[in-house]
């Protein structure tokens, strides 16, 4: 059996190529001018979720009785808006200037950006919602006539959900750190995580 040599491999790879379908230049320029929209579309699901939370708790703030429920609803709305802003700020996006860098630097920078976003999810995603949620749950005690056990179970359920989100993101961040370490181990590298 004959192992493939360089020429054979390249001939094979380049055989039967259908070619690139060129975009008209005007279309290229139109897309270049609206590239930020692509990122916005990618995050659309998250933005819709933020909007839904704000609308629902806006209705609660108006309809529900009691200071704690109203205050909690307003704080949750503010927290959701903060999360949406952080999501837009932290999402890595195509950067024409960064794309000129060598491939390894670019890839590492993308991994570091993603790792920072996931590792700090407690700060920018979970913590902003905690004050409002705490006030809202406390407001539910008199409104829903909850006993101490019911209140404890309610708090525990929310705490478990938050803890689960935090742990899943920490695990994903750890996987990214392992990838970054593997990149750095391949060749000594300039820069810090």
């Amino acid at each position: 059996m004959t192992p493939p040599d360089d020429l054979e491999l390249r001939r094979l790879w380049q055989r039967g190529d259908a070619g690139l379908t060129p975009l008209p230049l005007a279309e290229v320029k139109r897309r270049a001018a609206t590239f930020g929209d692509v990122v916005a579309r990618r995050n659309r699901r998250e933005y819709v979720a933020v909007a839904v939370v704000i609308v629902i708790f806006g209705v609660y703030a108006v309809l529900f009785p009691g200071l704690l429920l109203k205050l909690g609803s307003l704080l949750i709305m503010a927290g959701a808006a903060f999360v949406g802003w952080q999501l837009a700020r932290r999402t890595s996006r195509p950067d024409p200037e960064a794309e000129i860098a060598d491939i390894r630097s670019f890839y590492r920078a993308r991994l570091v950006t993603e790792e920072h976003m996931l590792a700090r999810v407690g700060r920018w995603y979970l913590a902003p919602l905690v004050p409002g949620l705490a006030a809202f749950l406390a407001g539910l005690v008199p409104a829903a006539h909850l006993g101490p056990l019911g209140f404890a179970l309610l708090v525990l359920a929310h705490a478990v959900v938050f803890l689960g989100i935090w742990l899943l993101n920490r695990r994903a961040a750890a996987r990214l750190r392992a990838q970054i370490a593997r990149l750095d181990a391949t060749q000594s590298y300039e820069g810090e995580i």
């Binding site: 493939p4 094979l12 230049l25 290229v28 794309e99 000129i100 860098a101 491939i103 391949t186 060749q187």
Partner: protein
């Protein structure tokens, strides 16, 4: 990460930018299509990637100042945009990503038996490429396009020794697989 500040905001006027872009598409269009094949198996997503790469290239030529060859410039921008595509679709693709060092452990993965020899060989190549993480994938795709080791090192940012080692490993792996499956046409 310091490279991004080394480049001027707008090194050329728009006519020159358009001309460079047209030259790049003429010279590298087929190779860019093959690169996209190495990144995305889904035909619709691959077409999206090809179009994104064209947009990225046109944008990049606003800053092209000739400090590296057109070839190196095109490959850097195209692979970087393709890497962004990989990351954006990571939830669908990532479970299989690994490095060349680890992929050898899965050398017993099934290979197609019922296709023509050359198609079988191409399937083998793609089956390896599809499972690689971006750094190794880029080195192999550049090698398959005939880019020299020194140029690949400059494009990817790793040393020529690392490039040579990765290519050697890839070829050894292919040789073992071909030995088991038979020669290709």
């Amino acid at each position: 990460m310091g490279m991004r500040h080394e480049f001027p905001e707008q090194a050329v006027d728009e006519d020159e930018q358009d001309r460079r872009f047209a030259e790049a598409i003429t010279r590298f269009g087929p190779a860019l299509a093959r690169m996209a094949r190495g990144y995305e198996a889904d035909p619709d997503l691959r077409r999206d990637l090809e179009q994104d790469v064209q947009v990225a290239l046109w944008q990049s030529f606003a800053r092209f100042d000739g400090r590296c060859s057109l070839s190196s410039w095109v490959w850097r921008v195209a692979h970087n945009r393709a890497t962004s595509h990989m990351i954006a679709h990571r939830r669908r693709n990532a479970p299989g990503w690994t490095s060349l060092d680890e992929i050898a452990l899965a050398d017993d993965a099934p290979s197609p038996h019922d296709t023509a020899a050359s198609e079988q060989a191409m399937d083998l190549i793609l089956s390896i490429i599809d499972r690689l993480d971006p750094p190794d994938r880029q080195i192999l795709l550049l090698y398959l396009e005939g880019v020299s080791g020194a140029d690949t090192a400059a494009i990817t940012g790793v040393s020529a020794d690392v490039v040579a080692a990765r290519i050697h490993r890839f070829k050894s792996m292919l040789a073992r697989r071909f030995a088991r499956e038979g020669e290709f046409a």
